[in-house]
């Protein structure tokens, strides 16, 4: 991998952010709307007599962490779709740029965008709803990294699907996080799910991240087991996603789809 080519991909996508309002709204506007809506909801909850201690903080923490997962996986796939929509893929892949350099550049830009969104959400939660995530941030960081890794694996798998099946699968870029959400136990603990679903939920790194987040916020405890499970599952999913992407890319090359992707 050559750093100057990765820099070229970063430059290309930073230019896109500068000129494309959709990217700016995805990066700033939607995270802010999200936290504002959930913030008001927590104000309403605070008036309840039977409110479970820590619930409000857990909800706001979940909104912020899910925002990072959702935006990172979506923007990886949308970054690739930008090339496809602008018919730039042939220019890129007829150059010495490798797929791994391209994906690395895309990760760098979109991780930066996701972190900006996360900081905006955390800032608004602090200023408007007096919820300060920053003191527990060091304990949440390992779970955030796990979320980012899983988002990356999902983003890479979706991009592979788009390579092979073209824009027929482009809605996956936006919808796949929604598909995972019910089983990820974002806003409720694992025990809320029916027992027969809990096994499936535990197969997702996201479930371990949000269980771990609740332990940090409610009890101030770092759950090593949830972190370790999340990381191990992430390694497995990342390897599977990379293998799947390679398979899809090679299939697209063999079928001549790289030059017909639009």
């Amino acid at each position: 991998m050559k750093s100057y080519r990765i820099k070229a991909v970063i430059l290309r996508h930073l230019y896109e952010v500068r000129h494309n309002g959709n990217h700016l709204s995805n990066m700033i506007y939607w995270p802010i709307v999200n936290i504002v809506v959930w913030g008001f909801f927590t104000i309403y909850l605070r008036h309840s007599d039977r409110l479970q201690p820590g619930l409000v903080n857990c909800l706001l923490g979940a909104v912020i962490l899910w925002g990072l997962f959702n935006s990172f996986q979506r923007d990886i796939a949308v970054g690739f779709l930008d090339e496809l929509w602008s018919r730039n893929l042939v220019n890129l892949f007829a150059s010495p740029l490798s797929v791994s350099e391209y994906v690395t550049g895309l990760i760098a830009v979109n991780l930066g965008k996701a972190i900006i969104g996360l900081i905006a959400e955390a800032g608004i939660a602090l200023l408007c709803y007096h919820y300060n995530v920053f003191p527990v941030f060091p304990s949440l960081l390992p779970f955030l990294l796990n979320l980012a890794l899983f988002a990356l694996a999902v983003g890479i798998a979706v991009t592979g699907l788009i390579f092979r099946y073209t824009t027929k699968f482009q809605t996956m870029a936006w919808s796949v996080a929604g598909l995972l959400m019910p089983l990820s136990c974002v806003f409720y603990p694992l025990k809320s799910l029916p027992e027969w679903l809990q096994g499936a939920a535990l197969a997702l790194p996201t479930t371990h991240c949000f269980e771990g987040m609740r332990a940090v916020i409610e009890r101030g405890a770092f759950s090593t087991s949830h972190f370790a499970w999340g990381l191990e599952l992430n390694v497995l999913y990342f390897v599977l996603a990379a293998w799947f992407f390679r398979l899809m890319f090679e299939s697209a090359q063999a079928r001549g789809l790289l030059v017909k992707l639009d």
């Binding site: 050559k2 100057y4 080519r5 820099k7 070229a8 430059l11 290309r12 230019y15 896109e16 000129h19 494309n20 930008d82 090339e83 602008s86 018919r87 730039n88 893929l89 042939v90 220019n91 890129l92 892949f93 007829a94 150059s95 010495p96 740029l97 490798s98 090679e250 090359q253 063999a254 079928r255 001549g256 790289l258 030059v259």
Partner: protein, 243 residues
């Protein structure tokens, strides 16, 4: 030989888009790959770039096997086609900066400005690509193609969207750049006038196979099967298309 293609075949299901094609191109040559729609010209060029995997056959560029040294080879060549585009929201300058970075071009701003001047589009530097005419976009694509001082240039229909005057200008610029740098050029085109004017040798393809090759006059005589003193590739093209 700069380009060596041996027994190249590409099948899509039952269709043989390229069928046992072999040719070679020497350094400094301008060679035309011509033929009617569906002849296999663009598929061949895409295989030379590694964008499509051949079903069988061998491709070697700069004396190296493409499937083993693809990125090293792609650093030394460039490609443009009016049928692909650059990101529309980015300006001309931004797009060229990105590609200059990909090819690790030194002193890239001066290089880009020089090329924009040469292709007479310097005034469009800060205009988004989406707001350019087809002819202007084609010229930006040509600037991109010369960014890395390529030893080999692959052009797919380089003058397709240009008016006759624009096409003539671009042809002259390409010939001048080629003469100055000794760049090897492989062109696919339907425009037989371009091919006749620019190419020293021509490979005529039909239904995936090379049916004639040689200088434009040799191909004219071979296909029309009569003695001619000037090349008439237009007539050759029509004869083959009617078959």
């Amino acid at each position: 030989m700069l380009v060596v293609v041996e027994h190249l075949t590409k099948r899509f299901g039952n269709l043989r888009a390229v069928d046992n094609v072999s040719f070679a191109v020497q350094q400094g040559e301008i060679v035309g790959l011509v033929g009617p729609n569906g002849a296999g010209k663009t598929t061949t060029v895409h295989m030379l770039l590694g964008l499509i995997t051949p079903s069988s056959g061998r491709i070697a560029l700069f004396g190296k096997e493409l499937h083993k040294h693809r990125r090293e080879i792609l650093q030394r060549l460039n490609f443009t086609s009016p049928y692909m585009a650059l990101p529309g929201r980015l300006t001309v300058l931004e797009n060229l900066r990105v590609f200059a970075q990909i090819y690790n071009v030194g002193n890239s701003t001066a290089k880009i400005v020089g090329l924009l001047e040469q292709f007479r589009i310097l005034h469009l530097s800060n205009k988004p690509i989406a707001r350019l005419s087809s002819g202007e976009s084609t010229r930006v694509g040509l600037c991109k193609a010369f960014l890395n001082d390529p030893e080999l240039l692959l052009f797919d229909e380089p003058t397709a969207y240009l008016d006759p005057q624009g096409a003539m200008q671009v042809r002259d610029i390409l010939l001048e750049l080629q003469a100055r740098r000794g760049t090897t050029i492989l062109i696919t085109s339907h425009n037989m006038r371009d091919i006749q004017r620019m190419c020293g040798r021509v490979f005529f393809l039909n239904r995936g196979r090379i049916i004639a090759s040689g200088t434009p006059i040799e191909v004219t005589r071979e296909i029309l099967n009569e003695h001619r003193v000037t090349p008439a590739l237009d007539e050759v093209f029509l004869r083959i298309a009617q078959q």
